[in-house]
Amino acid sequence: MPAALTHLDRLEAEAIHIFREVAATFSKPVMLYSVGKDSSVLMHLAMKAFYPAKPPFPFLHVDTTWKFREMIEFRDRMAREKGFELLVHVNEEGVRDGINPFDHGSNTHTHVMKTVALRQALDKYGFDAAFGGARRDEEKSRAKERIFSFRSAGHGWDPKNQRPEMWKIYNTRVAQGESIRVFPLSNWTEQDIWQYILQENIPIVPLYFAARRPVVDRGGMTIMVDDDRMRLQPGEKVEERLVRFRTLGCYPLTGAIPSTAATLEEIVGEMLTARTSERQGRLIDRDEAGSMEKKKREGYF
C-alpha cells in the first residue's frame, strides 16, 4: 500500500476532480485569473487536472487598470510560459468616465471596474461556468457558499435559496443565460495555500515577498505608490519601507504589512504567528457591514 494521502493531497485531488467535472459537463467554461496567490494555485491545479493536455478553457483577467504593475508583468509572463489562452477585459465605459478609486471611492470603483466589468466579460463570451479562487475561510458570506454556486441570468447570487450540494455529486445543469461559479479552493485555508505553494514551488507575484518599497500611510493602511497616478494628500510623505503584501488587488486599495519575510519559508513562518486576517489589508471589505455578501449578490466573485 502507498503512503496515506496527506491533507494537501486530498485538497489537491478534490480541486482536480472539480476542474474535470466542469470540463466534462459545461459547454463554455472560463477561469477567472486575478494574478494573486490563490489564482497561482488555481492555475497550477488546472494544469495538473488535464495533464498531458492543456486546460480546455481560457483564463480571463478583469483588469481594473489599477492593478500593481508587477501583477501585469507576472500575468503576461505566466501566459507565455504556461501557454494558456489569456483574455483581458477592461470596462471601457468606466475608463471613459474616468472612474478611479481616488475620486469615486473604493465602492464605486470596485463596482464599475470589477463587478460590472466581470458581468460584461461573461456576457460577451457567453461563458456558462467560471472558476474562481475564493475560499470559505476568507470571509463569512463565502463560508456559506457552495462549491458549484448558481447564478441567475443577471449574474445574481441568491444566498437564501442555494441548491443543496450532496456528496461530490454536483448539479451542473443551467438554462440559457444562467451560469455557475465554481470554487475548487473552497475547502482550503490561507495556511493550506501557502504550504502548498511551498511544497509545489509555485511561482507567485514578487509583491508577496518583503522588499523596500515606496509607501504612504493613509486611513490606517500602508499604501504603495506604484505609479504617478497616486495623488498625495497634504501631510503625506512617501517613504521607503521593508514591506510585503498578504493579498493583492488594486494598489490604492491594498494595504502592505511590515515584514522581513523574503522567502517562502519565511512567509509560512510569519503566517503561523499572524494575529490578523488577510482581508484586513483590503479596503473594499471594510466599507460596510455585509459588504462582501452585497457585492457577491451583484455578481462580484
Binding site: 500500500m1 502507498p2 494521502l5 496527506t6 491533507h7 494537501l8 493531497d9 486530498r10 485531488a13 478534490e14 482536480i16 476532480h17 474535470r20 467535472e21 470540463a23 495538473k48 487536472a49 488535464f50 498531458p52 470559505r136 475561510d137 463569512k140 458570506s141 463565502r142 463560508a143 456559506k144 444566498p159 437564501k160 441548491r163 443543496p164 450540494e165 450532496m166 456528496w167 461530490k168 455529486i169 448539479n171 445543469r173 443551467v174 438554462a175 473552497s186 475547502n187 485555508t189 490561507e190 495556511q191 504550504q195 511551498l198 511544497q199 519565511e266 513562518g269 503561523l272 504567528t273 499572524a274 494575529r275 490578523t276 486576517s277 482581508r279 484586513q280 457591514a289 455585509g290 455578501e293
Partner: protein, 639 residues
Amino acid sequence: MLTANTALLREDDDALVDIRDYVAGQENKGLLRFLTCGSVDDGKSTLIGRLLFDTKLIFEDQLAALENDSRKHGTAGDEIDFALLVDGLEAEREQGITIDVAYRFFSTPRRKFIVADTPGHEQYTRNMATGASTADVAIVLVDARQGILPQTRRHSMIASLLGIRHIVLAVNKIDLVSFDEAVFERIAAEYRAFAEELGFTTIQPIPMSARYGDNVIRSSGKTPWYDGPSLLEHLETVDIEAEAEGKPFRFPVQYVSRPNLDFRGFSGTVAAGSIGVGERVTVAKSGKQTRIRRIVTQDGDLDVASEGQAVTLLLEDEVELSRGNMLVTPEARPHVADQFSATLVWFDEKPLLPGRSYILRTETDEVSATVSQLKHRRNINNFAEEAATSLDLNEVGLCNFSTQAPIAFDAFSDNRTTGAFILIDRLTNATVGAGMIQRPLRRAANIHWQALDVTRQSRAELKHQKPAVLWFTGLSGSGKSTIASLLEKKLHAAGRHTYVLDGDNVRHGLNRDLGFTDEDRVENIRRVAETAKLMADAGLIVLVSFISPFRAERRMARELMSEGEFVEVFVDTPFEECARRDPKGLYAKALNGEIQNFTGVDSPYETPERADIHIETTARAPEELVDEIEAWLKERGHC
C-alpha cells in the same frame, strides 16, 4: 495563522524551525469533518464560535468586528455572541437564525477539522443534509431544558441515512439546569433508546455549556459527576479510519482525455480500493476486461492509485468506455441495473410524484428516472413506515426507481460514493432529492431487452409510412377528440395505418384503476405514453387525445419517442369557450364543486411553450384545422 501552534515554533526567530519539516508534520495530521445539528436555538452556532475562540483561531480584526456586531445584533446581552462568527448572511444576522450551512476550519496539534454549522429550522433541512453528506461525525445538540425535540429525531435520522456512524449528543445549556446530572442522564437515556435502530457505531453524550465553555475544550469543574471526555478531546480521538479500508476498487470515469491520437486517458477520482499498473480491471457496464497500462499524473506516473487520488488511467486495450461508466475490480463487480430501490430525502416545495420523469445523477452518470413505486414514507417521530402517495418537502421514503438506461452502482451501505445519487427537476434544474441505493430489483436482473430481427423500420416500410405520435393536448372540451377523430378518418381514407388513444376511453380499461389526483394523472400519462411508443414501434401513426395538463409529463412522453417522432399539437381553446361548450356537462359540475381536481377549475393546465403545431379552434372550422395538420405531416414525410 495558528496561534495554537506557535508553541511548536521556537521563540527565537533566528532559530526559525525548519519550516518544511514543520509543514510536513502538519500535513500528516488526519482530517475530521463534522457537523453541528439539532433544533433551533439549541446553540449550534454558539458552540462553533466557542470552539474557534477557545482554540485561538480568531484573528484580532475578526474579534473586533465580532464585538462590534454583538452590540448591534447580539442576543447575549453585553457579552460576545459567538453565533455571529458563523451566521454570515445578512438575513441570518438580522433574524438571529441560521439559514444555510457555513463551513469553518480549525486544527489542533492532533487533527485538522472542517466543521459544517447547519440550520435547525425544519424548512432548511436540505441545507442540513448538504452539511451532513460529507461529514464523518455529527454533533447533535439538545437544549437541556427542552430535551429531545422532533428536529433532534429528524436530524439524527438524516445523519444515519447519509451514512454518519458517530454521534456526539451535546446536552447543551447545562448551566441553565444547575448542572443537574439527573437531567443529563435522562436525556442521554432517551436518546440512546430512540437511536437504537439508527445503527450508529458510537454515541457519546457530553454535558455542555457552549456559551461558557464547560466541557467544550476541557473538562469542567462544574460537572464533577461527568468523567467522559470534553468535546474537543473526543473529536481528536474518535476513530473513523477503519471505515474506508478493504473496499473493492471503484473508478467512476469522469472525463476522457484525448490530447493526441496516441493518448486516450480516463480521468477520475478513485472512489474505493486501489489499483496497480498491470492489474486487471473490468468495465462495469459491458463486462469487458483489460489491464492498467499507466497511471498518469503531472508529477510522474504512479505504480498504484488508491482511494481519494485524482489520476488518469491508460488501458492496454481499446475498450468502449466513457463518462458515467466505471472501471472496477473483476473480483467484485458493482450492480448494473435499470431498476433498484433507494431511500429518498425530498428537498423541494413541489412534492415528489411517482411516475414523473426526473434527471438522476450519480457522481458521473446522468439518466432519466422515475419513481415506479413509493413503498413507504418514514415517520420522523417514531421512524415507522407509513403508506404514502407522494413525498413532501423534507420527507423521507423508500422508493423503487426505474431508469431509462442501466447505471452502475453499489449499495450505499457498502460505498457512500458509488451508492448515492441526486434527483434534478427537468424544468427548473433544481436539486429536488437525494437518494441512497439499497439494492437492484430482481426483475431488472432477469429481464433483458430482446433484440428482434424485424425492426421498427421494416414494419414502417411495409406500411409505406413514417410512424408518428401526435399528442393532442388542451383543456377538456377544447376539441381534441373531435379533431383527432376527423384526422384519423382522413388518414385512414388515404390508406394510412392509424390508431387513436383517447383519454376517456383508456380510463375505462388500461387506466381504470387511476383517479384524478396529481400522482394518478402522472401515472395515467406515463402508461399512455408507453403504449403510444409501442404502437409507433409497430409502425402506426398514433393520435393521442389527452388533456395532459403538465409540461413535465408531455416532455417525458417526448423523450420516450425517437427523434422527430413526437408531435405536440396544442388545441388552444379559451377556458370560457370550453366551459360554454361543455359537451359532457362537466364544467357545470366542476364549477359547482361537484367534481374535484378538474383541469382549469381547481387543477392547473400548463400551456405548451413550444408546441410543434398550435391550432386555435375559435377562429376556424375543425375541417380546416385537420387539413393544416395533414399538410404538416406530409411536409415531413409521415404520410
